[in-house]
Symmetry: C2
């Protein structure tokens, strides 16, 4: 208290101060600032001037208390802020743009206890809505206890179909990759990807096999090569495939790590990319895709768009203008560089 007196900014001007300076009542001041209510232009300008002069910033807490809207949304990320949640988060920020809505960040570290705790905090703050995201495309159980708070799942969809989820189109991504390779005239295509217990790996593999089958082809090496998402696996798998199926002319990889490993292994064996063998990666993760030799042609999941769309859906649910609020799938983009 004592300190505040010395410190002009911490004893922020209140509406009542603005009103006093403008010589009007609080009510009038409020109406002048919000643009509602009728009054003489001269009066309105007097209030605006006073607010300006005092550096008035409305107290959103007070406002929220009265209006019931907090102009805040919660963003729950289930396991850290990582390679996937970051672009989603940026998309969210983008969609919120220059508006008055802010984002409360909650990182649960994949811990359910923590998730519940954070959720409670969000509820106490009376957030207008919640966006849930994670680093896997595998569906996750819905957030327990959100009650009637509008919630949208981004990237990591909810297992409950009644929830609104914004997904990445894994099948579509595989389609882009395979059709690109087929279009290049490649017919002996290997698919090297992550572990089977990842939906992303399974979904992309399924579509890959489907498309190859439809074209009368079988995958190089006779099957999908499941492993982990690492470069090491990419190198190992490439060696194995080339050994067992030397006529392989393309690799579709489950992510850019793997693709880079494949590229390295091929180069070291003297195989030319893309002349002899083409490579398509997945994720379009700059760090990997651009410094690979050659730079990778890869599938971009358009994560920013996922975040953006999730936000728009959420906003429309909040405004009860829920006509548009339904689960959607965001198409991928094929980024063509030098490897295919």
């Amino acid at each position: 208290m004592t300190d505040l007196a010395h410190n002009p900014a911490s004893v922020r001007a209140r509406l009542i101060d603005v009103a006093a300076r403008a010589g009007v009542s609080v009510g009038t001041a409020s109406k002048a600032l919000s643009g509602s209510g009728r009054m003489r232009d001269e009066t309105r300008e007097r209030v605006l001037g006073a607010a300006e002069a005092l550096g008035f910033t409305p107290n959103r807490n007070a406002q929220s208390l009265h209006t019931g809207r907090s102009w805040t949304i919660g963003l729950m990320t289930t396991d850290g802020i990582g390679r996937f949640s970051t672009p989603v988060l940026m998309g969210v920020e983008d969609a919120l743009g220059a508006g008055k809505i802010s984002v409360l960040l909650c990182d649960t570290r994949g811990d359910t206890i923590r998730e519940q705790h954070r959720l409670r905090l969000l509820i106490e703050r009376r957030v207008d809505g919640i966006i849930v995201t994670g680093r896997r495309t595998d569906p996750r159980p819905p957030l327990a206890g959100v009650g009637s708070i509008p919630t949208v799942y981004a990237f990591s969809p909810s297992t409950d179909p009644r929830n609104v989820s914004v997904r990445s189109d894994d099948a579509g991504g595989a389609t882009l990759a395979i059709e690109h390779l087929l279009g290049l005239g490649r017919t002996r295509i290997a698919h090297v990807t992550g572990p089977t217990h990842h939906a992303a790996a399974r979904d992309r593999a399924a579509r890959t096999l489907e498309l190859l089958g439809r074209a009368g082809l079988a995958p190089a090496g006779g099957r999908v090569h499941y492993g982990d998402w690492s470069e090491v696996w990419g190198r190992r798998a490439a060696d194995a495939v080339i050994r067992t199926a030397p006529d392989t002319d393309a690799f579709f990889c489950g992510n850019d790590h793997i693709a880079r490993g494949v590229a390295d292994a091929l180069r070291e064996r003297g195989v030319r990319v893309p002349e002899d063998v083409a490579i398509v990666g997945y994720d379009n993760w700059d760090t990997m895709a651009l410094s690979a030799r050659p730079p990778l042609t890869t599938v971009d999941m358009n994560l920013g768009e996922i975040g953006r769309l999730a936000t728009l859906q959420l906003l429309s649910i909040i405004d009860a203008d829920a006509r548009e609020a339904a689960s959607v799938t965001v198409p991928c983009l094929l980024i063509v560089r030098e490897s295919a």
Copy 2:
């Protein structure tokens, strides 16, 4: 309103409801829940029970309005959520732990207009404090218009020495690297790093030269090799250095990208790492450091600790228990793997 009646959770129980159910006054209910005030145990338990039964969650907006504390801090990141701000952010979350403080995220995209807009939002929400971070160690001008809101700069320090900044110890990081290499008996050490207009590059280079000089040595190649932070540069620089100074026996690289490029170039020339030439990277960025061949010995800036410390400093300033609030420098860690 009409809708709320159907929807139990959206018409959240208020303190007055709890009080009614427990047969006490609001004041008493408040005291019971907060643990303050004296009352019979029986009364307190009755209130607690009622709160439990109604699923009462206090409205923090109302609370904040009255107490003046919002239990919220703002996190301004100046250019996207990236490789550096993410770990810092996680450190912040860590320090906040299971407490009642939440983080409002503001990404300014390096745009001053946007920064001002976000800052205004934070002020309107009456945040208790602000943490500013960015992706460069170069000092940045202080956040304009924070007034008396406690502010701490993390990783990207403020140009104003009166502000509290938590920095990474670039000189210390270089010291760890060089002393490690010297300890390994290496004497012809090259330093390949980023552009001169990055303070990080300059600071580490300066210390490197200083330590080498003190040991009576000159850098391999006769000078510091400034370039960019990329693998491509690492490869090019390694080639050039080996050509002009074939007796080079170690590389200290400005980041792990460069180090990885160096490792690749050396391997392809048949130079053995670490037997013939040792490599130390910087950043300990898993993706790069672990999949390099061999895995990189590298300097870890301990970014999480920077975030954690910044948060603790901020909290102590907020509590006006500012005895500890002063700029600090967080030491780096040397992570020894196989490359040196």
